[in-house]
Symmetry: C2
């Protein structure tokens, strides 16, 4: 096979990974274990929420029209018939000229349609003087006002937040159907690599990419499985990819993806399956490989952690999102550039930046430095259609 | 004890929770399990990174001064002495007039100080014609340029991101010291509450807050332990708080915290320990309780999930951060308001908003509706010193 790239755009690469992403399976989990999982089926309301007309304040449930014209000078006088207990409907129909004390969250007696806040009423024995009128519905959430039975509360594809989990609980979703967590096999290749536990000898470096990619897929709701460091040896890599494919839904191979003659990843993927992309118009991250083997995506990442980070963020994120049945949802911030960013038209650049007080400062210098990864707060994407951004321009920063 | 509030400001409440937060313990974990954990000790470089002068491109390692004046028309001719293998230093000193082929990431031979990119050179047998001059250091990361031995790479208190994990791997931090995960006991109180698995009867609602608070503390790197629903019964609540304190570092009790006479949380906390705050100038979320029992924080949250969300975000987040040995780091975005927000001076308001194309639209209407929790993308905080924001103003949105 050819060792030369036919470079595709980032958008094309994303399209390819979205196309080859196997769809997620589905499993039921307890709601308490569902945080950060992706809903595989809509969650519906099984009942009206609230299930009754509910007071939003501590006060007196009344017939609103009876308070018309009430003021400090000429209060409306109502007879208090008692107190509504939380968790029950102990009041009968409300009689004209009467009211019931109702605590926040309590049910209004039938016929009552508003609640006068305690602060706007005065109790004298069994009588209540109402000092302000209330409109019908005031301080009340009506039955079904929040959700109606069978309403879709949370849609399929949603990544469940704590708030979502709370709302799901309210509608009785004790168990929810979520996408199974994709299992990602992680392989690093390169004769220069030694395990993290070893001290590198001359010319050697520790394998940072396995740890990095493992944490990245974890953050994206996948299970990493580590297959260690493979020498620059085609047979060994082939073997490793084959075992990874037995256990995993996707395989990420870092290193061995540039066009240098030592590189094996593309040829191994081609031998086992198909190389769909070899080279993306992306900086850093050009020598990215996208292929499939046995219907599973196999991705070749650049050897350098800084480039790997960008490829994971720009491309692999989309793959994993589809595999989880969702879309990429990025935290972003708008910021003004403190310096020009120069780029090359036709290539998408991802520039690391620090963020402070709404200003983004590009970290220039050598992009291969690891320290830029811990110093930067995000990435500015320069689209392929642009030659850069100018100082003072407002740009979107992908917070990473 | 008094059932009336002496309301404190949000800042004062934060100060109190930060003060009563027990400091985290420390444990060593494998780096691969350290994602999202908080570093309890700095991570240092154990070696220079890189450990050798490393090429950032595929090309020819040269003595830079020998390429001075090189051009397409008058190239510098150098003799290629061989190829540097990845992971070793197989080249001796570079001799004047010579060069070595070096792949990306490979080590420069001693004496070489720059690399000519393949694209700027032409190989003819053993000779290499260099078409462009290189400056000393060009296409090279020098030994120790990224990190020097003993440099602090990642500081104590940092929440470990995938990038951090990658960089920690590079400096040999196979295990890292992280803060122990706080255990948060979660109790819901209220006669109106039924478990998520039950269908609420008249006047009843499902317990949404336990699930919500559990997912919230999980998101903040804590372990939730659920103690179920406790009736509005002082003895039962006292018992539940006592058992929670046996197993947990902090206890969150939702419901039972407003000034209505049925409310027990404050009196139970007062009996068992000390109530420090009962009422915060916060909307929604006023009836917040902050206390300590046996040196552990006990927090009373409002009964309504929407208010609970705000109190968790505005106050409890700070407590949990200190308990993890870090600070609150919020994802925020700047956005322009599409409508006025009215507030009351002296009270901090948190207004739910939707976000689209840099514009924030407040969700008004009844703040007690659960659907606002799933529809909103964030919160706009109106400081106590302001009476609101005007349409068109740029505000900070706390992304939740």
């Amino acid at each position: 096979m050819s060792l030369f790239f036919e470079v595709v755009s980032v958008d094309e690469a994303i399209e390819v990974v979205r196309k080859i992403a196997p769809p997620p399976g589905c499993e039921d989990v307890l709601l308490k274990d569902a945080f950060h999982r992706v809903l595989a089926k809509d969650v519906h309301a099984d009942i009206d929420i609230p299930g009754f007309d509910r007071s939003t304040v501590d006060g007196y449930a009344v017939i609103a029209t009876e308070t018309t014209g009430a003021s400090e000078a000429i209060p409306t006088m109502l007879q208090c018939r008692g107190q509504v207990a939380m968790g029950s409907i102990n009041a009968g129909n409300i009689a004209p000229g009467s009211c019931w004390y109702v605590p926040t969250g309590g049910a209004l007696p039938a016929g009552a349609d508003a609640v006068v806040m305690l602060e706007h009423a005065e109790r004298i024995g069994d009588d209540v003087l109402v000092h302000r009128p209330v409109a019908p519905g005031e301080n009340v959430i009506s039955r079904g006002e929040d959700f109606r039975t069978d309403d879709v509360i949370l849609e399929r594809g949603r990544v469940l937040s704590p708030r979502d989990i709370g709302v799901a609980a309210a509608v009785g979703a004790d168990r929810v159907s979520v996408a199974t967590m994709p299992v990602a096999g992680i392989i690093s290749t390169g004769n220069e690599l030694v395990p993290v536990t070893e001290r590198p000898g001359p010319g050697e470096v520790r394998d940072a990419n396995s740890s990095l990619a493992g944490a990245f897929v974890t953050e994206r709701g996948c299970h990493p499985v580590y297959f260690g460091i493979i020498r620059d040896d085609r047979a060994a890599l082939k073997q490793a990819v084959a075992s990874a494919l037995e256990r995993c839904d996707v395989v990420l191979i870092s290193g061995g993806s540039s066009k240098d003659e030592r590189d094996n990843t593309a040829s191994v993927v081609a031998e086992l399956g198909e190389v769909l992309v070899h080279g993306v118009a992306l900086a850093p991250g050009k020598p990215t490989i996208i292929g499939t083997v046995q219907g599973k995506p196999v991705i070749g990442l650049p050897g350098h952690p800084a480039s790997t980070c960008v490829v994971l963020t720009a491309i692999v994120d989309h793959l994993l999102a589809v595999m989880r049945g969702t879309t990429v949802s990025r935290r972003t911030a708008r910021a003004r550039l403190t310096q020009n960013i120069h780029s090359i038209r036709g290539r998408e650049d991802y520039v690391r930046v620090t963020l402070k007080g709404g200003e983004a400062t590009p970290i220039f210098g050598k992009s291969g430095l690891l320290n830029t990864l811990v110093q930067s707060e995000g990435l500015v994407r320069v689209p392929a259609s642009r030659e850069g951004f100018e100082v003072g321009e407002e740009v979107e920063v992908i917070l990473w």
